[in-house]
């Protein structure tokens, strides 16, 4: 298991954003994190990569308890993420943005090596022609790819993707799904938060469903889609659930 969550809880003042979340992610898989808006998915990512300390529980990454570690420690241990609300380094070029990932990520490259890696990765995510533009001048779809490129440049063991498909058109979704699959094929373990159900069902090996900060279900896409609680609380529409089961099959 590359990542283990042990009874994670997180509260903001009176708000219980996460309660008692426990699951494990096997190496080399794609794990999907589902749940309605406000379920606590992004908060869980923030707990996993050290932005927030959990109120309770432990995050174990590659055998190390991450207690007390800062995001930059965890990044250097080989965990990278994208942000749901994109955070480009606006006045730096696209290439420089990606170089930051390579310079300060797991492998800690020097500038020359980072420039090489950035060029490869911009090619891989389709940003090569944008290399010299300022990141602030990209459109939303390009900024999402920039988030991904920066994370990949760190050469992570574990990649956290927060709604990278949201706001993309069907053609862009297809491209991104293909990209994610190729990342997995390179041996990177992925946890992805997603609302686009079809894509998630097809792509993920395992799913975890959150609702109001609670872990509603976990299992393979087929198991989760057949779970009556999930159908009731989240999927709502039994017909949708059926079509999803078809996807999962």
């Amino acid at each position: 298991m590359i990542l283990e969550l042990q009874q994670i809880s997180k509260s903001f003042g009176g708000l219980q954003a996460l309660s008692n979340i426990s699951f494990a992610v096997p190496e080399g898989q794609i794990m999907g994190l589902l749940g309605p808006n406000g379920a606590g998915k992004t908060t869980l990512f923030n707990v996993i990569n050290g932005v927030y300390a959990p109120s309770q529980g432990h995050v174990i990454f590659r055998g190390h308890d991450l207690k007390g570690l800062k995001p930059y420690h965890i990044a250097r241990m080989g965990m990278a993420r994208t942000h749901q609300i994109v955070r480009p380094l606006k006045d730096l070029t696209v290439r420089e943005n990606v170089m930051v990932g390579a310079c300060f990520g797991r492998e800690g490259h020097n500038l020359a090596e980072a420039a090489q890696i950035a060029d490869d990765i911009m090619q891989f995510v389709g940003l090569a022609e944008r290399a010299r533009q300022l990141a602030g001048s990209l459109n939303v779809a390009q900024k999402k790819r920039l988030e991904l490129a920066r994370a990949l440049a760190a050469r992570p063991h574990l990649l956290l993707l927060d709604e990278v498909l949201a706001g993309l058109n069907p053609a862009e979704i297809a491209t991104m799904v293909e990209t994610i699959r190729r990342i997995r094929d390179q041996g990177v373990t992925i946890i992805m938060i997603e609302h686009v159900m079809h894509a998630t069902m097809k792509l993920c090996d395992q799913l975890v469903v959150l609702d109001y900060g609670k872990q509603l279900a976990a299992g393979t896409p087929a198991e989760v889609a057949a779970n009556p609680q999930v159908i009731e609380a989240y999927l709502g529409d039994p017909k949708l659930a059926e079509s999803l089961m078809d996807d999962a099959a």
């Binding site: 990569n49 932005v51 800062k70 995001p71 930059y72 990044a75 250097r76 990278a80 993420r81 942000h83 955070r87 480009p88 380094l89 606006k90 006045d91 730096l92 070029t93 290439r95 420089e96 170089m99 930051v100 990932g101 310079c103 300060f104 990520g105 797991r106 800690g108 020097n110 500038l111 020359a112 980072a114 420039a115 010299r132 533009q133 300022l134 602030g136 001048s137 990209l138 459109n139 939303v140 390009q142 920066r150 760190a154």
Partner: protein, 343 residues
């Protein structure tokens, strides 16, 4: 959404690429242009031997060294220090204390820089956690606290400060020679501050600083160890002002709390950096020279003599409103071809 190509910091990468492929000597025409300007202006008084011109250029070089140092924190890291003069003042005091105890300038001035570096290290631990306006306010508080402390600190002479015995200059070839000597040392320090600024900007460390400037939380998530990077930026921005402070007050012959920790000098440093272009190597130099040129004019004009600071404030307002990137930043944006020459 329309794609509008923009190339404003293309040259940064171009510079970095060049710096990787070539040695320091050939890597940036912009750096050499910057240094050439500084040298030509700096050596002009020496060639003519004109003491009045020397004094004008002395003030300019002093400002270049301070603005260029402040730029490491303000321009590259994005932290606004309103109280940067504290490092100039502390360096001055430590230098003067040691000079008055018989230490030579060659040790006393670096000691001033070291003291300022240590202060920045200690302060950094305490206040670099603050962001935005809170950090800026804290730096003002520190300057005022330091002034109050020194005012009551007997070894540094309290409110009367420290005066050097005139005899001390005989060790440097007499008072006249000592003035030239401080001038040349200051010229050297200005050059060092520009080279340092360039090296920081084109390094991996500098890339981390700029990531912090753009989005500190995102920088942390990408692995930039922000507390260390910020502390180093703060220390690097404090050392040269400390040495310059020691040098300035050595030349001056005496130091008092109100001369050493003048808050409005801090504000003038900010104006210089912003005027020339924060986050560029050339900008703070041009801004410092330009501002001091303007100030020299204002001081000699009876009409404006008393309103210099108001003019500085008004200037700052105009820059922030109309050319937030400063002169060099503006040129880089509008004349991409010139970028290699405008680091």
């Amino acid at each position: 959404m329309k794609d509008r190509p923009s190339f404003a910091s293309e040259a940064i990468t171009a510079e970095r690429e060049a710096s990787v492929k070539l040695g320091l000597l050939r890597r940036s025409p912009g750096l050499w242009l910057t240094l050439a300007i500084a040298l030509v202006v700096g050596l002009y008084p020496a060639l003519t031997g004109n003491v009045a011109v020397r004094e004008v250029v002395f003030t300019m070089l002093l400002s270049v060294a301070l603005a260029s140092s402040l730029n490491i924190l303000l321009g590259y890291t994005g932290y606004v220090s309103f109280g940067h003069v504290v490092f100039f003042g502390l360096g001055g005091y430590v230098g003067m204390f040691l000079l008055s105890r018989g230490m030579g300038l060659w040790l006393a001035a670096p000691a001033g820089g070291l003291a300022s570096g240590v202060l920045a290290f200690l302060l950094g631990k305490a206040i670099l956690r603050l962001r935005g306006a809170y950090f800026a306010l804290a730096t003002i508080g520190i300057n005022e606290a330091m002034r109050a402390f020194i005012n009551n600190f007997a070894p540094f002479g309290g409110p009367t400060g420290i005066s050097l015995n005139f005899q001390i200059y005989t060790g440097y070839g007499g008072a006249g020679q000592a003035l030239w000597l401080t001038y040349y040392v200051l010229l050297g320090l200005a050059i060092v501050s520009l080279v340092l600024s360039y090296l920081v900007k084109t390094s991996k460390f500098g890339l981390g600083l700029m990531a912090i400037r753009e989005d500190e939380d995102a920088a942390e998530v990408m692995g930039v160890i922000t507390p260390n990077a910020k502390t180093w930026a703060y220390i690097l921005s404090a050392i040269i002002p400390g040495i310059v402070g020691a040098l300035f007050f050595f030349k001056n012959g005496n130091i008092e709390p109100n001369d050493a920790f003048r808050l409005h000098f801090s504000i003038e440093m900010l104006v210089m950096v912003m005027l020339g272009g924060q986050g560029t190597v050339l900008g703070p130099m041009l801004g410092a020279a330009g501002y001091q040129g303007l100030r020299g004019f204002l001081v000699t004009s009876p009409l404006f003599k008393d309103v210099q600071l108001a003019v500085a404030g008004g200037l700052l307002l105009l820059i922030v409103l109309f050319i937030p990137a400063g002169a060099v930043g503006w040129l880089r944006q509008h004349f991409p071809r010139l970028r290699a020459l405008l680091p």
